[in-house]
């Protein structure tokens, strides 16, 4: 069925079709609608979900941890400060290997207070042990929400699927909805390895773990993250075969003969693709790399992509405040250390607090990268793109 939906509506529709056992949530702009719409499905009896309107995001995710420990399929939604308030529990959910899924909307973290898009919220949680997938549009957000439930449950790891605040969350798009029956069929039942409420087989959950066992448990969690990429690829493939929409961990656009490339995450991937099309019409050999799966970092697929161009502009919608530039920039420079050929790289920190990035802005960045190709030198490795006073 083809409908018109915003990103938030798309994620709420996915949640309706997934019909989770438990949803515990607290509202926050710009993700409020996801759960607001879902609570209406609960009220109308369209889903069987036990809905827990919690008093904070910390409580919401804690309720999710409890419910998921029982073996329930559990989802929630949040953004920005909400994810920051969940931060402590994120690590616990991952350590307990609970496949909770968050439908998140990327919004700047305070301060200054802001409600618009950048990726500082999820990137601040990058080391929490959660999977992170960034959608380019509402369709991908919808499809990925469904995929992520399956990935998380197989990997026994929690995951975040995210959209860009307002650009995707509130922008109306054409959306292809799957048949209501097909989604539960695709997902099957959650099969938890054990349940907190199984009184016949009582277990201790989350016990104190000191010098003698903590490291072994953490190593086991790291191993789970090491093994998740093949699961993501398998689920993406299965989704593509069943429903005809194909996704990859790294989205390469016109990269095969590209001499100049730009990398981005989220909606900027879409904007950048239009810029690529325009420049290609003028005969310029440009391409775009979109990091779709960010946690775990898809090292092999990314290395394949980033070694194709001669010059690469990496666009980060957050800064690490470390003097080292953005997250993608650091990750890519790290994986390129052992590569035989390395592109010249320039880091563009852009779009903080929802500062708009236009097709023309990206075309201009491509032009700068062409200049670097000509001179063979990166003039300035980290730039703040679109900020006044530079």
């Amino acid at each position: 069925m083809i409908v018109a939906r915003t990103g938030n509506e798309a994620m709420a529709e996915a949640m309706r079709q997934i019909n989770p056992d438990v949803v515990a949530a607290y509202p926050i702009t710009p993700a409020t609608e996801v759960v607001q719409l879902f609570s209406k499905f609960v009220h109308d009896g369209v889903v069987d979900t036990e809905f827990v309107p919690a008093e904070s995001e910390h409580s919401a995710i804690s309720a999710c941890v409890g419910a998921s420990s029982v073996g329930a399929r559990v989802m929630t939604s949040t953004a920005s400060q909400g994810l920051a308030l969940m931060h402590e529990i994120l690590f616990i959910a991952a350590g307990l290997r609970l496949p909770i899924v968050i439908c998140l909307v990327n919004r700047s973290l305070s301060s200054p207070i802001n409600i618009h898009c950048d990726h500082s919220d999820t990137l601040a949680s990058q080391d929490s042990g959660w999977l992170q997938i960034y959608a380019e549009n509402a369709q991908e957000a919808y499809d990925t929400t469904i995929q992520l439930v399956k990935i998380a449950e197989e990997a026994l790891l929690p995951g975040i699927v995210s959209t860009d605040a307002f650009i995707i969350s509130h922008g109306m798009e054409r959306l292809e909805l799957l048949d209501d029956k097909k989604v539960p069929e695709f997902l099957g039942e959650r099969k938890a390895p054990y349940s907190l409420l199984d009184v016949d087989h009582p277990l201790t959950f989350g016990a104190l773990d000191l010098q003698d066992y903590f490291f072994e448990h953490k190593r086991s969690e790291i191993d789970a993250m090491d093994k998740v990429l093949p699961i993501i690829e398998k689920v993406q493939k299965e989704f593509g075969e069943k429903f005809g929409r194909n996704y990859s961990t790294v989205d390469e656009y016109k990269m095969d003969d590209a001499e100049i490339a730009i990398m981005a995450m989220g909606s900027t991937g879409g904007t950048g693709k239009v810029a690529v099309d325009r420049l290609r019409e003028k005969g310029k050999k440009v391409g775009l790399i979109r990091c779709r799966v960010y946690r775990p970092f898809p090292k092999d697929a990314m290395l394949k992509a980033v070694t194709k161009p001669k010059v690469l502009g990496i666009m980060d919608r957050a800064d690490t405040l470390s003097t080292l530039g953005g997250h993608l920039y650091n990750a890519c420079r790290s994986i390129l250390y052992d590569a035989d050929t390395r592109p010249l790289i320039k880091n563009y920190i852009y779009g903080l607090g929802g500062r708009d990035i236009s097709i023309e802005d990206i075309e201009k960045a491509y032009e700068q990268l062409f200049d670097i190709q000509k001179s063979g030198k990166v003039d300035k490795d980290i730039v703040y793109y679109g900020v006044r006073g530079e």
């Binding site: 350590g95 307990l96 290997r97 609970l98 026994l156 390895p193 054990y194 009582p202 277990l203 201790t204 959950f205 989350g206 016990a207 773990d209 003698d212 066992y213 490291f215 072994e216 448990h217 190593r219 086991s220 191993d223 789970a224």
Partner: protein
């Protein structure tokens, strides 16, 4: 003592067998111990209700004594034992 497991042998997600506190005898932290007087005790079971370590041994509704393997010597039992009864006294642990 058996060798500790490597990370590959551990159950997934920090789920461990239940009731392992039983194997961890916390009584050796004690600096004072409660001494129970069977003559004075009226078996009101207030000490049993209040003991945070389930260290009051009760059989058929009657106090039998104190489980020193788990008693941490907090003194709550002696404090809660009714003032007119005073069947539990705290004494210094001495080797």
């Amino acid at each position: 003592m058996k060798e500790k497991e490597g990370w590959r042998e551990l159950p997934i997600g920090l789920a461990l067998e239940a009731g392992t506190c039983k194997n961890f005898e916390t009584g050796d932290w004690r600096s004072e111990k409660p001494v129970w007087d069977a003559e004075k005790c009226t078996h009101c079971l207030i000490c049993w209700v209040y003991c945070p370590d389930s260290a009051i041994i009760v059989k058929d509704g009657k106090v039998q004594g104190i489980d020193y393997r788990y008693c941490k010597g907090c003194g709550i039992c002696a404090e809660e034992c009714p003032p007119k009864i005073q069947a539990i006294k705290m004494v210094r642990e001495e080797k």
